[in-house]
């Protein structure tokens, strides 16, 4: 690939604007058999917390029309194991690493950020204040602009590189949260996390997920995500990373046109494990076809007639 796809998110330089989304790519190891993961714009890791977490009881995933629900509950290996085993692997593969972090308390976010700051292999953190599937923390931090700002400030103070804050779609005014986080010093925003949702088995009259509710992802959420990205990109000056239901190059381009500087691909990795490579080469072809010198010319290039 050429420099045409180069993208900047704050001070972070990416080979291309295509990342893989947290929770849909593990810590990269599983894809190593299939392709060179350093080709990705970045790998965003599964959410990491201070202590390992088992997550919610089973069942915790289910297919729905054009998508899926999950209530994993941020099961993860914990920061110690991440730093001793997962990060070295990602570094050995030359992957650009963005670590998604999650705390049950506000202070845990800053502790995690501090621990990650010492590691050259970590290019950025993505602060998850938007998980719908946990009792403590998660989305509850992402719905109050004051709390969201406070977490952002603490993480900024503890972490010297790029800080991306990941927003929830389930708020009455996403732009208010976005602005609060921007004012608190975030370098970029990413959205959307999954949309709270549920499914019911009519035979047993029970919720399908043991957690009762979960978060919806996949193509079903794309139009919602796109509108939120469009709104947020127009209300902040910092870069926006768009995600939600991206399956194809055109889906990704829609997010760029709506104002996202980069995209993440999540659930699509389950359906087509090589989808991210397809989208990268698709974007390259698109830029060549239109004779663009940089993919950034597409960002926010939505044409609205009035």
């Amino acid at each position: 690939m050429t420099s045409m796809l180069m993208t900047k998110i704050g001070s972070l330089e990416l080979k291309n604007p295509v990342m893989v989304a947290s929770g849909t790519y593990g810590y990269g190891e599983e894809f190593d058999d299939m392709y060179d993961i350093s080709k990705l714009g970045a790998v965003v890791t599964k959410g990491v917390s201070l202590k390992p977490r088992e997550g919610n009881p089973m069942p915790r995933v289910i297919e729905v029309a054009s998508g899926m629900l999950n209530a994993i509950g941020l099961a993860n290996v914990g920061i110690d194991n991440f730093l001793s085993e997962k990060l070295p692997f990602l570094v050995s593969r030359n992957a650009t690493v963005i670590v998604n972090i999650f705390g049950s308390t506000i202070d845990e976010y800053s502790e995690l950020a501090k621990l990650l700051d010492d590691h050259d292999g970590v290019s950025a953190v993505e602060v998850n204040i938007s998980c719908p599937n946990v009792k403590a923390g998660g989305v509850q931090f992402g719905t109050d602009p004051k709390v969201a700002a406070k977490i952002t400030k603490l993480v900024k103070k503890a972490f010297s590189k790029t800080v991306i804050v990941k927003l929830s779609p389930q708020v009455s005014d996403i732009c208010a949260i976005a602005k609060a986080v921007e004012d608190a010093g975030a370098d970029a925003l990413s959205l959307i996390n999954t949309i709270p949702a549920m499914a019911i088995d009519v035979d047993s009259r029970k919720p399908v997920l043991a957690n009762i509710t979960g978060g919806m992802s996949g193509p079903a959420v794309k139009p919602v995500a796109l509108k939120l990205v469009y709104d947020v990109a127009r209300s902040v000056r910092i870069p926006v990373v768009g995600l939600g239901g991206i399956m194809t190059t055109d889906d990704a381009l829609e997010f760029l046109l709506a104002g996202a500087s980069a995209v993440q691909i999540g659930t699509a990795n389950f359906v087509n494990p090589k989808v991210a490579l397809d989208v990268i080469s698709g974007m390259d072809s698109y830029c060549r076809k239109l004779n663009l010198s940089s993919v950034q010319e597409v960002v926010g290039a939505l044409e609205i007639q009035n």
């Binding site: 599983e30 894809f31 599964k46 915790r60 297919e63 899926m68 099961a75 359906v271």
Partner: protein
């Protein structure tokens, strides 16, 4: 493991609700118990569906599946020559490093599929293969002629008595088990069957491996949606650490 586009060579009904599908793959070998994630053409499903690999001959892989829902029904109506994408071989299969004198295979319904591949491997290496095969009715018992032709000794049971002994296949196993010389047990089927088999294995001190079925979104270990509990009560991924587990390593 790789993901590849391939063409369906054949996709035929072989029994009531049971289909046999064959397609070309690039991989040279597989371990019985491993599975493929198949993307089903059309709009019936969003996620892929997992199926145990039954055999691989001259680059042609074979699966057997039962139509139980929208995805498998859609799959059953897809004509040969259609393109599908197949990810595999996935997961951790049956381990036969130490070859048992007698291999006892316990199959429930379409659980026979991965055990077919295992039977081939065990017979090649000289083990005596005894299969206990159970289902609700005779319709659930398929591949019988093929298994006999391989040299597998069959012990059949159905809950309605329409084929073999009437009752649970695990009860039949318990009755006949003491007659076999230094056996190992390998099982695949619904959780109830696996639980009963694990109990028998533990009681009698017989090395036993079971292949679990769990709902799977990704099949490659990244969604964490397929977890089952290991012997310490911690979640492990059925698609990666499994689907085959030693009974001492998994909580059923």
């Amino acid at each position: 493991m790789d993901d590849q586009k391939t063409k369906i060579i054949s996709n035929d009904r072989i029994a009531d609700q049971i289909f046999r599908m064959r397609f070309k793959v690039d991989w040279a070998s597989f371990i019985p118990g491993q599975f493929v994630m198949i993307s089903i053409p059309g709009d019936a499903t969003f996620l892929r569906r997992p199926f145990g690999i039954a055999s691989l001959n001259d680059g042609v892989a074979e699966i057997f599946y039962k139509t139980v829902g929208a995805g498998t029904r859609a799959l059953s109506s897809i004509p040969k020559e259609t393109s599908i994408t197949v990810l595999g071989p996935c997961g951790h299969g049956f381990q036969v490093d130490s070859l048992p004198t007698t291999s006892i295979l316990v199959a429930g319904g379409y659980g026979v599929s991965p055990l077919f591949g295992l039977a081939v491997k065990l017979l090649e290496r000289g083990s005596d293969v005894q299969m206990f095969f159970g289902g609700m009715s005779a319709d659930d018992l398929f591949l019988l002629d093929e298994l006999r032709a391989l040299g597998v000794r069959l012990h059949l049971a159905t809950e309605d008595g329409s084929e073999g002994t009437k009752g649970l296949v695990t009860d039949l196993l318990l009755q006949e088990l003491d007659g076999f010389a230094s056996p190992h047990i390998f099982a695949c089927g619904p959780d109830g069957l696996l639980k009963a088999v694990a109990e028998i294995g533990k009681q009698k001190g017989i090395a036993t491996q079971v292949s679990l079925e769990r709902y799977m979104a990704c099949g490659i270990g990244v969604c964490l949606g397929c977890a089952c509990k290991n012997s310490d009560g911690k979640f492990v991924r059925t698609c990666r650490e499994g689907p085959v587990f030693d009974i001492n390593d998994v909580e059923l």
